[in-house]
Symmetry: C2
Subunit: 429 residues, 2 copies
C-alpha cells in the first residue's frame, strides 16, 4: 500500500472513531422509524436529508407501479408506491474513474410477536456495544456503514474520479421493486456493493429464490370409511418426498467451491402446509407453499421449468397423479440470483481493503439467500458483491441487533474501497 494510502486509511480510521457516537445516534434514529412496507417515507426523508448535508445530488421519487408492473422482473404484492419513496444520492466524480453503486434497502419486516422482544422493537437501544431493534442488522446497520464511509472519504477533502451512487431503496423484502425502479431510471455503475448482513464475509455469488404453491388433490369421504376416499394429506407426503429428491438432484450439480461449507447450497423449503377442514373427513385438497433456491448461474425460468418437469414425473410413481396432477403456481416474492467472477477487479479491490483493515484473509462464499444484488448484476448491468456487518441469525427475529464495532469496521473497509475503486483525483491527492 503506497504511503499516502496508509495515511488516508489512518485518517479515515480516526475520523470514524471520532464520530462513533454521532453515527450510533443516526442509526438509533433510523431504527426508531418503523419502515415496514408502506411506511418507509419518514426514514427515507431522513436519508435524503443526510445526503443533502453531504452535498450529494439527491433524487427522491415514488416508483410508478403501473409502469413497473409490465417489467418482466417486477415482483411485488402491490403496484402503487404512494408514501414509499426511493432515494438516490450521487457524488459526482471528476471523470476518468470507475463508478461505484452502493445499495441498501430501507424496508424492514414487521416486528412479529412483541411478547418475544425484551424491549420495544423500535428502541434502537445500545447494550454492550449492540444496537437493538427491528432492521438493525437487516439492514439499516449496513446502510449507515455506507453513509459513514462516504462522509469519512469526504472528510479527506479529496475528489474522486468515478461517481459514487448511493441508493436507499424500498421493497427488497418483497422482491426488489425498489432496486428495479432505480435500474429502470437508469442508475448503473461499473460495480456495486450491498452491505447486507454477511457477517463481513464477501459474497460474489448469491442464491436466488422464488415462492411456489402446489395444490395436491384427493377425494373426500367420511373418516369412518376413509378407504372410500383418497387422502390429499397422504398424497402430499408423496409430493414432499418427491420434492426432497429434486433438492438432492439439484444440489448434486453444485460443485462451486464457494458453496463448500454449505450442506445444501440451493435448498427447496416447504414452509407451509394446509389441508382438509374437518377432522372426520378425508381431505380432498392440500396446499403446499415453499421457497425454491436458485443457483447463482441459473435463471429463474430455468429453475421453474425443472420444477414443473419434476412434478409431472409424479405420475410415474403413482397413477393417482396422472389423473389428478398437482398444480404448481409461482407467487409472492422472488429474488434473482447473482454471480460475479471471484476474479473480478472489484472483488480484488474489496478483498485488499478487507485485509488492510482486518489484517486477516476475508472469507469468500456464495450467499444462501437472495438480495437485490441479483437484479443489479443480471438486469442492471452492474456486477454486484454483497458484503456487510451484522449476522443473518438475528434478521427477521425478535431482539434483532447489530454489533456497532462491525458497522464501523465495514465503513472503514468500504471507505477505502470507494477510494481504490473510483480513484483519487491525483491533481488534488
Amino acid at each position: 500500500m503506497p504511503k499516502h494510502l496508509v495515511e488516508l486509511q489512518k485518517h479515515i480510521h480516526e475520523w470514524i472513531s471520532l464520530h462513533r457516537e454521532e453515527s450510533t445516534d443516526f442509526l438509533r434514529k433510523l431504527v426508531s422509524m418503523p419502515s415496514t412496507q408502506g411506511n418507509e417515507q419518514r426514514a427515507q426523508f431522513l436519508i435524503a436529508d443526510k445526503l443533502l448535508e453531504l452535498a450529494l445530488e439527491v433524487e427522491l421519487w415514488e416508483p410508478d407501479g403501473e409502469a413497473l408492473a409490465s417489467h418482466p422482473y417486477f415482483c411485488s404484492p402491490r403496484n402503487h408506491f404512494t408514501g414509499s419513496p426511493n432515494v438516490v444520492g450521487v457524488w459526482k466524480g471528476v471523470g476518468g474513474g470507475r463508478s461505484l453503486l452502493l445499495n441498501g434497502h430501507m424496508d424492514v419486516v414487521p416486528e412479529g410477536n412483541r411478547a418475544q422482544w425484551h424491549d420495544d422493537p423500535w428502541s434502537g437501544q445500545v447494550v454492550d456495544g449492540k444496537l437493538y431493534g427491528r432492521g438493525a442488522t437487516d439492514m439499516k446497520g449496513g446502510n449507515v456503514s455506507l453513509l459513514i464511509a462516504i462522509e469519512a472519504v469526504q472528510s479527506l477533502g479529496i475528489q474522486l474520479k468515478g461517481d459514487v451512487i448511493f441508493e436507499s431503496v424500498i421493497e427488497e423484502e418483497s422482491g426488489g421493486a425498489g432496486t428495479l425502479a432505480a435500474i429502470v431510471k437508469g442508475y448503473k455503475a461499473d460495480a456495486a456493493l450491498i452491505p447486507e448482513p454477511t457477517n463481513m464475509r464477501i459474497f460474489p455469488k448469491q442464491q436466488g429464490s422464488m415462492w411456489f404453491r402446489i395444490e395436491v388433490k384427493g377425494r373426500s369421504a367420511h373418516g369412518g370409511t376413509r378407504y372410500e376416499g383418497v387422502s390429499a394429506i397422504e398424497k402430499s407426503i408423496a409430493v414432499i418426498e418427491h420434492i426432497r429428491a429434486l433438492e438432492v438432484e439439484r444440489n448434486a450439480r453444485i460443485t462451486d467451491p464457494l458453496y463448500a461449507n454449505n450442506p445444501i447450497p440451493i435448498p427447496i423449503n416447504i414452509g407451509v402446509i394446509q389441508g382438509g377442514n374437518w377432522p372426520s373427513s378425508v381431505s380432498d385438497t392440500v396446499k403446499l407453499e415453499g421457497r425454491m433456491g436458485v443457483a447463482p448461474e441459473e435463471t429463474l425460468d430455468g429453475a421453474k421449468e425443472e420444477m414443473l418437469r419434476w412434478i409431472a414425473r409424479l405420475s410415474e410413481k403413482d397413477p393417482w397423479f396422472k389423473a389428478h396432477p398437482p398444480s404448481v403456481e409461482w407467487f409472492g416474492a422472488q429474488w434473482v440470483p447473482g454471480s460475479v467472477d471471484p476474479e473480478h477487479a472489484f472483488m480484488q479491490v474489496l478483498m485488499q481493503q478487507f485485509r488492510a483493515v482486518k489484517q486477516v484473509e476475508p472469507v469468500i462464499e456464495a450467499s444462501p439467500w437472495g438480495t437485490d444484488g441479483g437484479l443489479l448484476t443480471q438486469v442492471g448491468d452492474t456486477p454486484c458483491i454483497v458484503f456487510g456487518p451484522g449476522i443473518t441469525q438475528v434478521a427477521h427475529y425478535p431482539n434483532e441487533y447489530i454489533e456497532m464495532e462491525h458497522v464501523f469496521e465495514s465503513a472503514e473497509i468500504i471507505a477505502l474501497t470507494i477510494i481504490q475503486w473510483c480513484g483519487l483525483d491525483e491533481a488534488e491527492a
Copy 2:
C-alpha cells in the same frame, strides 16, 4: 307367522301405501326447516305437534347445559341449549310387555357450498322417487319412518303391552348431548332402534369415534439455510406414518365377522393438517386433527390411552421426539361405541320382520361410524340397534336425498317390530 299377524302386516302395508303422499309432504316440510345446530326449534315444534296428534304423552324441553356439562359422557361445543329443545312422545302400553325406544336426531349439518347443490338445499323436492335436501337421509327420512310406523300401528286400533318411546333429539352431529339429556331425564327401555341411514342393513354394533389434535414441533430457520432448522412439516410426516402403523395394529385385532366386509373396521383418519406461516421459513409447528375409530367393545378411555402410549413411542424412532414430544389433545365431538349381542331377542324380532317384508335375508354388519346408539347402550342401559333407510354416501354432501320407497319399507318393518316386541294386548286382539 300366525294368520292374524299376516293380516296385520297386510293392513299396515296398505295403510302406508295409502298415506304415501301425506308422509312425503310431512318429510318435505321437515326438510324445508333448516334445523342446523341452534336452529332445531321449528322442526321440533312440528314433531311435537305430530306426536300430540297421535295422542302420545309429549315432553318438550331445552336441556340444562350446565347440569349436563358435569356428566362424564357430555360432549358438545356448547353448554346452553336455548332454542334447541328435545321432544319425547310416549305411547303407554297396557303393561306386561317389553318397551321400545325409537330415537332419531333432528339436527342436521350445514348445507356447505351452495354452488354444489343443483337446487335449494332446503327444497325437499321429490324427483324420480328421491326426496332431496340437507338432512333427507341423515336423518329426517328415518325419523319420518318411525312416525309412519307408529301411526300405522295405531291405525290397527290395537293396544300394545309395552311402552313405545319416541325421541326426537338435538346434538347428534356434535356428540350426543340431546340423547344424553333424555337418558338423564330417565327415559330408557328394553331395547332401542335408531333409523340412521344404514341402507336397511342391521347394525347391532357400532364403531365409536373421537377427535384428536396433535401438535408436532420443529425449529424455525430461514428457508435458504433450512438445514439450520428442523421442519415440523417433515416431522409431521413421521407422526402420520406412525399413526398409520397404529391403525394397522388396532385393526389386526378386529376379528368380529360383522366387520368381514370392512377393509379398515376402525380407521384413524387424519383430516386436517396445518403448519407453518411463511413459504421461506422452516415451520416450527404442525397441527394434525383427526378422528380415531373405537371398536364396539372398546371404551373411549381405553382407546385414548393406547393412542397416548403409541405417540410416546415416537421417541424410539427419532430422538427429536424425545426432546420435543408431540402433544395429544382430545377435542370436539365423540361418539360412544355400542355393541349388542347379535343373538339378542330384539335382533331376532327385527330380523324376522325384515324377512317378512323384504323376503330376503337382512345384511348384518357393524357400522363404520358412531350414532347416539352407543350412549343408549353403554350409558342409557338400553340395548340399541341401528337400522334405517337412506345411504351414508350422500349424508353430509351436496344433493343429499333419500329414496322414499325405502322410507316406506323401513316404516313397515319397524311397525311390525313394534307389535312383535311390545306385544299385542290379547284382550283386544
